[in-house]
């Protein structure tokens, strides 16, 4: 199958997909192409979003025929090389205090085994990683972070874990997610932070943006408990990236 590919999303819009699996260049292309669609100000488009490797363009296809939107998207796609688009401007490097102790990260040992690593190696791998925010999705402000080392290309579980708490760090398919809110998941719970990705009472409710980079500062369960008594930033700090 060739990319980029334009498909209809039921009657809800069009999806421009830049790769069949997570890919850095496709991720950048989806973010840049979304920005380009926004600047077109097409009246039929109610909103846009970028996912890992796609740009979603919301259009009511019971009103505007899909073919009409598709032709316009094809023209815009042909106007430049989206795969070599620059990273978004104004990116931040975040330092997030994260507890990896099994008491608060009950699947860290299981995830390490799935990755073929000792617990010690898994921890050093995660704390030395500097993943970036590849998309915000699933829940408000919830970041997908990646890519991790190839060893972390582990599948989701077949069964859902009924509930993990807000601030849970979970892993699968070379990505990490920090949960915005408590929810069921098929990803494995490998860390816990007091940082909240979404807090409607904060001046900026959603802290992270696509392109931001992340590093984890390991903390103990006791330190985590202290941060949990504080504000919703959970000790997170950031500096500007050049």
């Amino acid at each position: 199958m060739s990319f980029p590919r334009i498909s209809s999303v039921g009657l809800s819009g069009a999806l421009v997909t830049f790769a069949g699996e997570m890919d850095e260049r496709a991720n950048r292309a989806s973010i840049a192409f979304r920005a380009a669609v926004d600047t077109q100000n097409w009246p039929e488009v109610s909103e846009t979003a970028s996912t890992l490797v796609s740009t979603f363009v919301a259009v009511d296809l019971s009103v505007t025929p899909f073919e009409e939107i598709k032709v316009r998207l094809e023209t815009l796609l042909g106007s430049r090389d989206w795969y070599n688009a620059a990273q978004p401007k104004g990116r931040k490097l975040w330092t997030l205090p994260m507890c990896f102790e099994p008491a608060r990260a009950p699947q860290i040992e299981e995830a390490a085994r799935a990755a073929g690593l000792s617990l010690k190696d898994a921890l050093s791998n995660l704390t030395n990683a500097r993943p970036h925010v590849i998309t915000i999705g699933y829940a408000p402000g919830q970041p997908y972070l990646g890519p991790l080392d190839p060893v972390w290309n582990i599948p989701r579980q077949a069964e859902l874990t009924p509930q993990l708490p807000a601030g849970a760090l979970v892993v699968a398919i070379r990505q990490l997610v920090i949960f915005t809110a408590a929810m069921p998941t098929g990803w494995r719970h490998v860390g816990q932070t007091a940082f909240r990705t979404f807090d409607p009472t904060r001046p900026i409710p959603i802290a992270l943006s696509p392109g931001d980079e992340i590093r984890f500062a390991p903390i103990t369960a006791d330190e985590l408990a202290e941060f949990e008594k504080g504000d919703s930033m959970g000790g997170a700090t950031w500096e500007a990236l050049p």
């Binding site: 498909s7 209809s8 999303v9 039921g10 009657l11 809800s12 819009g13 999806l15 997909t17 069949g20 699996e21 997570m22 979304r34 109610s46 909103e47 846009t48 979003a49 970028s50 996912t51 890992l52 490797v53 796609s54 979603f56 919301a58 296809l61 019971s62 009103v63 025929p65 899909f66 998309t135 915000i136 999705g137 699933y138 829940a139 408000p140 402000g141 919830q142 997908y144 599948p155 989701r156 579980q157 077949a158 069964e159 859902l160 699968a172 398919i173 990505q175 915005t180 809110a181 929810m183 098929g186 979404f198 409607p200 959603i206």
Partner: protein
């Protein structure tokens, strides 16, 4: 101090819901809003005003009283309703006198009922809408003691009924292919439309699980699919092969593959399918789906035509006095007695 509706008692899933919020998918927030959008429009038609927030009640209602005389309408899945003990018709508008106790019990058909107030509520906007979005931590469930400020109502008509579009017992649901249908293949899609499903108890505003009669379904690529955009109605297949229809408060993206998507106009039917109801799926091609969806929207714009004065049979009235009390303060549009 504005007038209020007081919540005296409430079931476990009672929230304020309007048509939801658009423009936040990129930041990870789905539209949310009423599970049965048609029921919101029906309430608006009964009360002769634009759609606004109503109280959504999944499975069980509660008890309410207002600090002033106000108009109400009851739509969606039918629930046992009474006013100071006298039964109230569903799919109808009524007067709720100040201090009278409105009791709404369990669902009798469908799964989710709506209580509309004359002009709606004066609730704070959360990211542009009044809707509670519990999965996102916006708003709360309504609990006893909650007071909701009422918007000033200039309307007067009560005692009208609406004939709802039938959707309260499962049945045929129209679907169309979406961007991941190809990874299941046409054969599996065909088997999907030949399979009978029943609505499972695992159902909430995020998604509704359906149990297939016979074997489950699976994508050809297995479980590792790149996370991709979700829209309301997407039919997600999880690890055990059973489909979940993702509803308005779902995630914005997800990595479980989706086999097809439900026509938006049929989401009210999915939302209202009671526990154990039979559901089967009918696959439409894209053009036909677009045409039928547009036809539904055209019908929904003319719901006023489905409204008529209530005709009451005195033999059905357990408390004639309470009915006369109500009709005595309406504007005379009421039919019947």
């Amino acid at each position: 101090m504005s007038d209020v509706l007081r919540v005296l008692d409430a079931g476990p899933a009672v929230t304020l819901q309007d048509l939801g919020r658009t423009g936040y998918i990129a930041q990870g927030l789905t539209r949310g809003g009423a599970l049965d959008r048609l029921a919101l429009l029906e309430g608006a038609a009964l009360l002769e005003r634009p759609p606004t927030a109503a109280i959504e009640m999944i499975g069980y209602g509660g008890a309410f009283e207002a600090s002033m005389d106000c108009r109400i309408a009851l739509t969606g899945g039918r629930m046992q309703a009474s006013l100071d003990g006298a039964p109230l018709a569903w799919n109808a508008s009524h007067l709720l006198p100040a201090g009278a106790k409105l009791s709404i019990g369990g669902t009798q058909s469908g799964a989710v009922g709506y209580l509309h107030l004359g002009a709606g509520f004066e609730a704070p906007l959360l990211l542009g809408a009044m809707s509670a979005h519990l999965a996102a931590g916006l708003g709360t469930i309504l609990t006893p003691g909650t007071e909701l400020a009422l918007a000033a109502d200039t309307g007067t008509r009560v005692g009208w009924q609406i004939t709802p579009e039938p959707r309260f017992s499962g049945g045929a649901v129209r679907i169309l292919r979406s961007h991941q249908s190809h990874i299941f293949g046409e054969e599996m899609l065909a088997r999907f439309t030949q399979t009978r499903f029943t609505r499972d108890a695992r159902a909430n505003r995020q998604g509704i699980r359906l149990n297939p009669e016979g074997p489950g379904f699976a994508a050809q690529g297995g479980l590792t699919v790149v996370s991709e955009i979700i829209t309301s109605g997407d039919i997600q297949i999880t690890g055990d092969g059973a489909p979940y229809v993702l509803m308005c408060e779902s995630q914005t993206t997800g990595g479980y593959p989706r086999l097809a998507t439900v026509l938006p106009a049929d989401l009210p039917r999915i939302a209202q399918a009671p526990l154990g109801a039979d559901i089967r799926f009918e696959l439409l091609d894209h053009m036909e789906a677009a045409r039928q969806e547009a036809a539904s929207h055209a019908r929904w714009r003319k719901l006023a035509q489905n409204c008529a004065p209530m005709v009451r049979n005195p033999a059905d009235m357990s408390d004639l006095l309470s009915y006369q009390l109500i009709s005595g303060v309406t504007d005379g549009h009421e039919g019947g007695i």
